[in-house]
Symmetry: C2
Subunit: 442 residues, 2 copies
Amino acid sequence: MLGVGKDKVIMKKTIITNGQFIIWNEQHPIVNGCMVIEDNRITYIGTEAPLPLEQYDERIDGTNKLFMPGLVNTHCHAAMSLLRGYGDDLALQVWLQEKMWPMEGKFTAHDVRWGTELSILEMIKGGTTTFVDMYDHMNEVAQAVERSGMRAVLTRGVIGLCPPEVQDAKLKEAVQFARDWNGQANGRITTMMSPHAPYTCPPDYIEKIVQAAHDLNLPIHTHMSETAREVQDNVDQYGARPVEHLEKLGVFARPTLVAHAVHLTDEEISLLQKYDVRVSHNPGSNLKLASGVARVPELLKRGVKVSLGTDGAASNNNLDMFEEIRLAALIHKAVTGDPVAVPAEEAIRMGTLEGARSIWLDDVGALEAGMKADFIAIDIDQAHFFPKTNYVSHVVYSASAKDVTDVWVDGKRLVKNGECLTIDEEKVLAEAQRCFERLTSA
Amino acid sequence: MLGVGKDKVIMKKTIITNGQFIIWNEQHPIVNGCMVIEDNRITYIGTEAPLPLEQYDERIDGTNKLFMPGLVNTHCHAAMSLLRGYGDDLALQVWLQEKMWPMEGKFTAHDVRWGTELSILEMIKGGTTTFVDMYDHMNEVAQAVERSGMRAVLTRGVIGLCPPEVQDAKLKEAVQFARDWNGQANGRITTMMSPHAPYTCPPDYIEKIVQAAHDLNLPIHTHMSETAREVQDNVDQYGARPVEHLEKLGVFARPTLVAHAVHLTDEEISLLQKYDVRVSHNPGSNLKLASGVARVPELLKRGVKVSLGTDGAASNNNLDMFEEIRLAALIHKAVTGDPVAVPAEEAIRMGTLEGARSIWLDDVGALEAGMKADFIAIDIDQAHFFPKTNYVSHVVYSASAKDVTDVWVDGKRLVKNGECLTIDEEKVLAEAQRCFERLTSA
């Protein structure tokens, strides 16, 4: 807002002219023209400016730029970027137990702060405007999100492999965090409750977390069916595959987002559909950890909401959401032998609109009057965007994080000509490096 | 060369200081220090400068840069970038017969020139220093390569689905091209002979091409076993799968590079190994066209030389070789369930050293005294390269074409701080666009 007049709040009006805008219209996905942003909302998109240009507070020339909704990363552990490249090419359980958990056990709030800032810097410059984060020391994460200007859905992921009093303390902390931060940062932060996974939380602990989610009226986020081994272990230990197990524990009575969901039977897909459980597909991480290839075409066919996540940078190893969009469009074609499995239009929506819908953000993820102004600009005056044919195809099959020049979240410009306006980049890189060195020297 | 003295040619001496250099030493893959280039060769790499710095004609500060061998793209049809985004999400045969071939039939030499320039621009700025190109109007391609300063192995790909006199004319043209250009552009261009594929060339025509390759003493490059349908068609038509078929036709009596090789039996892998046939693995294209996933781990285990190619931009859709390296490292892990299938070290070599070896360039692909000075610099002062842990991992799992800041080929700097010094970028983009518009309006 620019200021307050006698009777009303005066909104800042910005117009982008001469741009190309991706909208969710299958026949005509590109608007050549203008977009107007007032305060934190898009109020107009069309070929002609609705008012004379001098009536706008800010005029931005969109020539040679492609505008699209900001990318939505629905599964991340931002602080794990401190472990990027630390322990590659290992199976999930070995990687977790021998590499990640011992190092993460040493993480202080200070480490989480700088690991998260490192990830936010990478995500924001690469066009991600919203991310889901499940981790520990979440106050640090929330503060970093608040400072950065990004949008996030945050949750303290709890692992229940510990004595009951430690379980209780963790749950109390998770509840406190979820209550304190839900709706904060001008509504940019919302929260969820998270049992880390069926294999890291005893059933009675999961039930307690579900009850807390009911009490707070919040959704649940959890890892599920990431590896074949995890599924088999679940059957051996609890006599049921993870989907049935979580259903019995009442998890799906809450709105739920599950990450991975690689190993599913037809019956399990039906259950997910029945409960409107949303799936965060993490193709990069699933490939790297050799977890397998999720049954995304079947999930989509059955109407399950599928979005995309990077997972943490330790198993990806970057946070480039364009890459996840591309992998989602590419791998299912080869694995199913069907060249129209997950077409480009579907993949780009999974990385934007479906991402927002999957995390209950109903006014994010589209360039459309009334939607929150979370959007990005891509420099299309480059060889890999020529010829100027199908820009949805070019974004899905050819773009990368580094093509992003400008980013707006909630109507505020966070990246301008490739420079992040809200983060001291040099300091973040140096501090993250210092954390890593301390962690590995100890 | 700077000039010619009384008795000898005076070489230009360049030193890069304060750099980090990737070398092919598994235990110690990074040298922190200096590299010296004299004329077109690397003459030194080590921690200390061999001479006082003032004795070098050019001194380059390598701070915050990672230097590595230039990327080698072993299968491309550069001019097809004109068809980027034109006909996505289709099966190979439909895509070829209904989209690509009708449009390519209209390509003039002018189109091939600008399509190739567009691809060269994208490749060179993205760190590719050598590429294999199989296409038509190859004089245009060779001239574009010569002007750009890149290294290339070029071949007129011939399709024999035409009357004998047309076949003969094509072969004659291919022979003429191969003879004219082999060793040209200071040796930066070498040539091969190419039957396009077993499914596009009758057996007797392939035999004639093989004979020509014998006469010219040149290697052979061909598409092979890209789709299951092609393999089955080959069995139906000729009573043999493609590998046995090509063996019978004498192809493998010549040094041979085959592209794709997705559908192979164990026996076929043995045959490829026996004849030292090199495989250009094109993961991006194979995924996009739903061709399948090549048996790369098995090929590597059996000692077959495997390199990486983008294929044309119409089936990829970019020419980012970092992406091919990453896909090669990622997809085989998930498909085989083995998290160490194609480790990072193997993938980066496939995109560089093994690429050069696969196309008979024995002094390209390594930062090592005596090797040709084909190398690139990457800006590692960015979030996705932190923490500074394992740079081979960071390149494979986190880098992209846009991270490349500088490129040298044959000792000559072609890209400086992201600007291509040998190509008029604006003109190339405009001309390529014009060609596309003419082709689609006709």
